[in-house]
C-alpha cells in the first residue's frame, strides 16, 4: 500500500476509479430507478473528483471549468430523468425497472 500511494495522483485515480466502478455496478444490478439515478450521479462525481485532481496536477484551470460544465449538465439531465420517472410512475404505479418489459428482442 505504501508503494501504491507514493504518487498522490495515483491515490485519486484509485479512488475515482473505485467510485466509478461502484456507480457502474449499481446501474447494472439495482432495480429501483431512483437508485439507478443516484448511481449515475456517483459516476459523474467520480469523474469530477478525478478532473479536479488532474487540474491541480497540471496546474491548468480548464479541468475545473469542465467540472462546472458537468455539474450543470448533470443537473439538467437528472431533471429530465425524474420527469420521465414521474411519467412512468403515473402509468405503472411502480419505480422498479422490472415493470417495464414491453419491448424485448
Amino acid at each position: 500500500m505504501e508503494n501504491l500511494f507514493s504518487n498522490t495522483l495515483d491515490g485519486y485515480l484509485f479512488l475515482a476509479s473505485l467510485l466509478f466502478a461502484i456507480g457502474v455496478l449499481g446501474i447494472l444490478i439495482r432495480r429501483n430507478i431512483i437508485i439507478i439515478f443516484m448511481c449515475v450521479e456517483l459516476m459523474l462525481s467520480a469523474v469530477n473528483l478525478l478532473l479536479t485532481a488532474f487540474s491541480v496536477h497540471h496546474n491548468d484551470p480548464n479541468g475545473q471549468v469542465f467540472v462546472f460544465f458537468i455539474m450543470a449538465v448533470a443537473a439538467a439531465e437528472i431533471t429530465i430523468g425524474l420527469a420521465i420517472l414521474v411519467m412512468i410512475y403515473r402509468n405503472t404505479g411502480s419505480v422498479s425497472i422490472d415493470s417495464l418489459k414491453k419491448l424485448k428482442w
Partner: protein, 469 residues
Amino acid sequence: MKTIILLSVLGIVAMMADIFKYRAVLWYLVLAGIGAAVGLELLEWNQNMPYYGMLLMDNYAVAFSCIILGLLFVWFLVSRDSYTGQEFNDADHYALILFSSVGALLMVSFVDLSLMFLGIEILSIPLYILAGSRKKDLSSNESSLKYFLMGSFTTGILLFGITLVYGATGTFHIERIASAIGNSTMPVYFYTGIALLVVGFGFKVSAVPFHFWTPDVYQGAPTFITAYMSTIVKTAGFAGFYRLFSTSFSNARMPELMEGTTWSILVIVLIVLTIVIGNLIAAYQTNAKRMLAYSGVAQAGYMLMAVLVSQVEDNTKSSLMLYMASYGLATLAAFTVLYYVQKSKGSDEFEAFTSLGKTNPLLAAVLTISMLSLAGIPPTAGFFAKFYLFTSVLKANPSLLWLVGVAIFGSLVSVYYYFKLIISMYGSDEKSTAEVPTNMAYQFILVAIVLIILFLGIQPGLITNLANL
C-alpha cells in the same frame, strides 16, 4: 457558428409559438430558417474559421453540418403529417428537435472536448423527452427511460475517458492532445481513457455489443422521432467519433503494439461484431420498425470502417459523408412510408405491408428503392457508398481484405431481410385491399428523395469531390 446561433434562436422562436399565436406559420418559418442556416453554413466554406479554440469551422465541419441540416430539412418536410393531427404539440416538438440539432452541429465542429461533451448532451437531452412524448403509452415510456439510462450511463463513461486523456496530456484541445502524444510514452490510464471513449462512442452509435438499447428505444419511440434518432443523431455521433479519433489519436501507439494504433484493434472487434450480429439479428425480425433499427445497427458497422482507417487514408472522410447521406436519406424515406402504413393499418409488422405494391404503388416503389439503397444495390447511392468505403479500406491496408470479406458477407445477409420487406409488399393478400391514405405533397417529397438517392447512385462524385478537403 452563425448557423448554431441561428438554429438556437429558431428553437426559441418555435418555443414561443404558442404564446404569440403563430403556430400556423411555424412550419414555414422553421423551413425557411433551416434554409438560411444552410446558406450561412456555405459562407464558411474554405474559411477555416476558429472560434476561440473551441470550434473550428473547417471544411469537414461545414460539409457535415450541411448534411445534417439537409437531413433536418427533409425530416421537417416528411414529418409534417404527424403534427397536423392533435397527437403532439408541434411547437414543443419543433423546439426540442431544433435544440437537439444544435448539439449535432456542435459535435461535427468541436475542437475542444468540453464542446464535444456539451454537444452530446444538447443532442441527447431533448431526445429523452421526445422519445417519451406519448405520455400514456407504456412502450413510449419504456423507450424514453431506456434511452435516458443508456444515455447518461454512456455520458459517464465518455467523461471518464475524457478525464483520463486529459490527465495524461493536460489539455482538452484535440490537436494539442495529438501533439502531446507525439512520440512520448503515455501512462497506462491514457490507453484506458481511449478504450473508454471507444466504448462510449460505441454506445452512442449503437455498435454491437453496446447496441441492445437501440431496437427497444427505436421501436417504442414515435416513428418520426425514431427516424430522427437513426439518421441525424447517428450522423452526428459518427462525425464526432471520426473527428476526435482521426485528429487526436492517430498516433496513439502502445509501445508493445507498434503495428497499428491501440484503438484500431478495439474498433476492428466492434466492426466484426456489429456487422455479423447486427445483420443476423435483423434477419430474424418480423417487425419492420425493429428491422430498421437493427439495420441501423448493422450499418453502423460499415460506418465504423471509415473511422478505423481514418488514421492513414485521408479520403475516408468523403466515404463517410457519402455513406451518411445515402443512409440518412434512405432511412428517412423508409420511416416515412412506415409511418403511413402504421397509421392506416395500426401495425408495423411485415404483414401490414402486404399488397402495398397494389394499393399504393408509389409508396411501395419508394420503399423498394430505399431498401435497395440500404442493401447497396446499384444504381442507388448505397452501392457507391459501400464501394467507396471498401475501396478506402483496401487502399489503407490491403491486409484488411478479410474485413471487407466480412462486410460483404454482412451485406449479403442484409439483402435477405431488406428483400423480405420488399417481398411482403408485392405479395398479394385479398384481405388488405384498402389504400393507405397519403397526401399528394408528401408523395412528391418522397419521390424527390428517391430521385436524389438515384442521382447520387449515378453521379456520386457530387459528394465525394465535395470532400476532397
